[in-house]
Symmetry: C2
Subunit: 487 residues, 2 copies
């Protein structure tokens, strides 16, 4: 049997886990300060309860892992944390505080074709406010998201939250297709949204093809287009580029007037932008930190109002080359129909989701974290008969918060030193026959010239070859190490 992972699934190692935990603790504490209370919902929900809101209908099984349970009901692994939240709120509506503010960190699964950087299992860290139509909610979500990135140590002006509004796009579509209604308009809208959502990846040319007859990609696969005519395509592109060169919100509001003041839906969108800017500006949230940008779409189908995207901006090095991780690390928006699926009443919602893995890889480049972790002190087990002595010594160190690890195998000195090396230990404690007679131990500092353990053949030779080692009374070990190890 060959040991192998399923494609699109990855292991995570010790050091990354400790940085990830630090990052998540920071986010969760930040969210908590704003009154977002933690919730845990299960990984598996009934498929019809989750609904179908994922972008890209060209994925296998609509992008969701689904199967039948023992009662032959279709169930699915959640593809986000918002759809299960809608189920939770609908199920518990009467007992919840209204509005309901919750945070959740959890794994989600997407049955996509895996590729570089595209995993089928990843984590999200979400905040949501359910039950408020006020733009103050949307604004709070935007502010909390922006400050989260700041708190995690991403330098000012190297990120932004971009804000758009789905109603603005809907207003445009009403003008493009004045005669269409219902399912037909929805299908048309979906095709256009998905085309526009690819602006980042395919550029204006690619999007133009997808809005028109369609597009053949490098592999020769053809994607059917939205079949807009040239003037319709121009209207969409004009819309997308409205705020293209505008960096401040007040000028963006001005520019938006042209495309918004065409019908009631556009007016509504404009006033939502206006109210968001009003509150942001009163709170002195800088124009670089939160921007209005008509090119932002977000993939999920359930958004109905403002949509947000958290982006790391491309960084250039000395030779003007783009370096490091950039692009979206999170997104969200208002979804006034999602909880309402389960209810006769309209239950509005707005939220934001951080892509934990993406953000983590991005954070590494800013090095705001102490990536060093305490490595264990390795106590060699030279004589199996004295194992209890080694265990006792280790316990003494642990009581002081020092990570202590007695070698657990039955191999000789050489293998034990190799083990200490692989564990990246700084200190090794040796208590052999000689030491025991004198009631001392030898402490070796491996950082002072990392040893090449392969070249060492026996205990005596090894000891003679080493400089950075001391013999100290056994009773002094804790005091000696405690001073030297950062806990």
């Amino acid at each position: 049997m060959k040991p192998r992972k399923v494609r699109g699934f990855e292991d995570v190692y010790a050091q990354d886990i400790s940085v990830l935990s630090t990052m998540l603790e920071c986010l969760q504490a930040h969210y908590r300060l704003y009154g977002f209370e933690p919730l845990y919902t299960p990984s598996i929900e009934y498929s019809d309860v989750l609904g179908k809101f994922l972008p890209d209908d060209d994925r296998p099984n609509d992008g969701v892992f689904s199967f039948q349970d023992d009662a032959e009901q279709w169930v699915s692994l959640r593809y986000d944390l918002t759809a299960p939240l809608a189920r939770y709120v609908a199920e518990n509506y009467d007992n919840l505080p209204k509005p309901f503010k919750r945070q959740q960190t959890g794994t989600v699964w997407r049955n996509e074709k895996p590729g570089p950087g595209r995993l089928r299992e990843f984590s999200q860290c979400d905040i949501d406010i359910i039950g408020s139509t006020s733009m103050a909610s949307d604004t709070e979500i935007i502010i909390v998201a922006a400050r989260a990135l700041e708190k995690l140590g991403i330098p000012s002006q190297q990120y932004r939250i971009a804000v758009n509004n789905r109603k603005l796009m809907d207003s445009l579509l009403m003008r493009l297709f004045p005669l269409q209604k219902g399912a037909e308009l929805t299908a048309q809208k979906t095709t256009i949204l998905r085309a526009v959502d690819k602006l980042d990846r395919l550029g204006i040319t690619g999007v133009t093809q997808l809005l028109g007859q369609g597009r053949k990609d490098e592999s020769g696969d053809f994607t059917k287009g939205a079949n807009l005519n040239t003037s319709q395509i121009d209207m969409v592109l004009d819309f997308l580029t409205t705020t293209n060169t505008i960096k401040d919100r007040k000028s963006a509001l001005k520019a938006l007037e042209n495309i918004a003041h065409k019908n009631a839906l556009g007016e509504e969108a404009w006033h939502e932008f206006f109210r968001i800017d009003n509150l942001l500006s009163a709170l002195h949230i800088p124009d670089w930190q939160v921007q209005f940008d008509t090119s932002i779409v977000r993939g999920l189908d359930y958004y109905t109002g403002p949509v947000f995207e958290a982006e790391l901006l491309p960084q250039k090095n000395d030779t003007d080359k783009i370096v490091g991780v950039s692009g979206a690390v999170g997104g969200g928006g208002r979804y006034d129909g999602l909880v309402s699926r389960f209810s006769k009443n309209i239950i509005p919602g707005v939220g934001f989701s951080i892509g934990v893995t993406r953000l983590f890889h991005a954070l590494k480049q800013y090095m705001e974290y102490d990536f060093s972790v305490q490595t264990p002190v390795i106590i060699l087990a030279l004589e199996q008969d004295f194992m209890a002595e080694y265990f006792k010594l280790a316990d003494e160190l642990r009581q002081d918060g020092i990570i202590a690890d007695v070698y657990m195998g039955e191999s000789g000195m050489r293998a034990q030193m190799k083990y200490a090396d692989k564990r990246q230990a700084r200190f090794v404690i040796i208590e052999g026959e000689d030491e025991r007679k004198q009631n001392v131990v030898t402490i070796k500092d491996l950082d002072k010239g990392r040893i090449v353990s392969q070249s060492i053949s026996d205990n005596t030779q090894w000891r003679q070859n080493q400089e950075a080692q001391v013999k100290i009374p056994k009773n002094d070990v804790l005091a000696y190490l405690s001073k030297r190890i950062k806990k």
Copy 2:
């Protein structure tokens, strides 16, 4: 559409999440002190890589959630954290320190028929040592498990780690079926193990039936038995009850001689018990904390040597009635064949797994944790035009670590007070027109006589009715609250 959860899956609420996190942080830090490094493996693995080691072959789909991925490969949600670890070690063997010590906390899934207290999604918190045959490893695992329970605040002598050895049972089976070999013996062994594993639930009578012709349960379902004859059944029962009344390890070792010194496998088992006791006793691990008990089996098929079970002992109240949660909260053992499935070499392993949810429910009764969490200060939003002022005040409090929550809805005073009540807030801050004119705010202490928010109809009446409220200058709010809130 009706909002509903899949059977056997549960939501977890804010307060339980914060206690669960505290518990897991305690366990993880404890494991880390012993040099167990964190690892994350994915939730989904190829079905054949996980293998079939779950107890109870009467479960649907062998107890595992399985489905085909887009490449039509069978994949499964992991049913434990040990089978994926075996895959990980085999895949990365050359680069790992040997022995390899890792800890992992994660969700696992079982496709069982759900019932009261039997969930299909739960968390485990595991430690394992791979690559060492030394009984020092098994002993370390036992000690770390025992001390984990102690550290979590379970009072001394209200828990124990029970230790048995699969080789002892195998030695008995060799004597019961001297002529059987291979698959036939394995099948026979599995049936007997599963019968014996039900001792806790079915008692001696039930196990006797399952060892004989079989057993009809309350619902009328018949489980086929192992078809042993009366003398064979007696041998098994004698074996199970060998250490029945024995509470110290030395006496248990003595009693075990009778059943162990019958063949080579029995001798081996006895010497493993002996070596474990040797180290435990040298380290003064009390007899109540770690006990030898031949009635312990553990369900998983992959164990090959010592097996362990962490148990909370039944507590009786004044009237001698058993109260609270008792029974197994974790278990483990040695599995020398699991990694070897992927390798020509024997790669031994030993580990222990805590059932996080079970232990959590048990811990609640010992109340060692501070179950109180900081509740938010609620800032009422009486005038939407002054939202920015409310946001600024909230930010000022948050900078001092105070959870502050501006009411996000657009309802009136009454709904806002009801909201504060549902959030279990102690303090509410009111800044209405009157207060703004005087540059003060009203702070209401809800704990001083929780208000009945339903009876309040307007702002003025509410203020007159309240005793526990103060008016203070807006600039003094932080100082006032900071003194009164435990962060």
